[in-house]
């Protein structure tokens, strides 16, 4: 399929999606959350939604009694990742609000679980996505909500 644009120079196409379409959401005033860097966030959140859901599903289905707290937490994390993915992808006022709430809860969650799992390991006999600040996932769970909040709270481009 022929691509309409042909990036000959770097200056020729600086931020076409982010710059030309600030109002891509369902309402006319909100800045889009699902374009440009936002689409990267959606992709990463989608990966984590799948990873966390699968992990929680397997843990709860096969060995729930071993570490109920950890596994319920896995399920909660999965739900938050799913909600954040959908909210970021849909955008609009509601999407933005839900995404903000998700990223905030996520950041608090990964910090709380991180500290708890380091200082009170007995509470988490098995790992969750957020154990040790997301170490098992390359600390992405710790960085992701920060990036999400930065993206959602960014100043409108002048």
């Amino acid at each position: 399929m022929p691509e309409p644009e042909r990036a000959t120079g770097t200056g020729a196409r600086s931020e076409p999606a982010g710059g030309t379409e600030p109002a891509a959401g369902s309402d006319g005033t909100e800045r889009a959350t699902n374009r440009g860097p936002g689409r990267v966030l959606v992709a990463v959140y989608l990966l984590f939604a799948v990873a966390a859901s699968a992990r929680a599903g397997v843990q709860i289905a096969t060995k729930f009694a071993e570490a109920p707290v950890a596994y319920l937490l896995s399920a909660l994390a999965a739900a938050i990742y799913i909600a954040a993915t959908v909210a970021l992808a849909r955008g609009g006022t509601t999407g933005r609000r839900v995404a903000l709430a998700c990223c905030s809860v996520e950041l608090l969650g990964v910090l709380a679980v991180g500290f708890l799992s380091v200082f009170d390991a007995a509470l988490f006999p098995d790992d969750t996505v957020w154990s040790d600040f997301g170490q098992g996932y390359g600390y992405v769970p710790l960085v992701l909500p920060v990036l999400g909040l930065l993206w959602l709270l960014r100043r409108p481009r002048g």
Partner: protein, 131 residues
């Protein structure tokens, strides 16, 4: 040859190595495109197709072995990873087409960095834990 445990699984060996290297090369190329403010182009789509071919070959390998006398140590987890990993290159391609900017290239980068991790996890879940 090295006789690591991973090489003995049907999702290990040279095929897995080639796929991992392909994926990492594509990740580097996409990151370069991101840095140069280029959208993903046909080279990225072709690279994703190659990676997908490698992954499908791994799936066939695993299916043949599973039909034989061996099987994954953690069957459910292994299947989950297998299904997920095969979906990733098409997902990257779709998202790259949806986002014809440098950020589309970054999406390809991210997904191509995840694929090698999942291949290693595949190898780990095939082996019986502790065996």
């Amino acid at each position: 040859m090295t006789s690591t445990a991973a090489a003995e699984t049907p999702v290990g060996g040279a095929l897995a190595t080639v796929t991992i290297v392909l994926s990492l090369v594509l990740a580097a190329w996409s990151l370069l495109s991101t840095a140069r403010n280029r959208p993903p182009d046909r080279s990225h789509l072709a690279g994703l197709a190659l990676v997908e071919l490698g992954l499908l070959a791994l799936v066939v390998n695993a299916a043949l072995a599973w039909a034989g006398d061996s099987g994954p140590g953690e069957a459910a987890t292994f299947l989950g990873y297998l299904v997920t990993i095969v979906c990733l290159p098409p997902l990257a391609a779709v998202l790259a087409r949806m986002e014809p900017t440098r950020w589309g290239s970054l999406i390809v980068t991210v997904i191509c960095l995840v694929i090698p991790v999942l291949i290693v996890r595949l190898q780990q879940t095939w082996q019986v834990p502790g065996a």
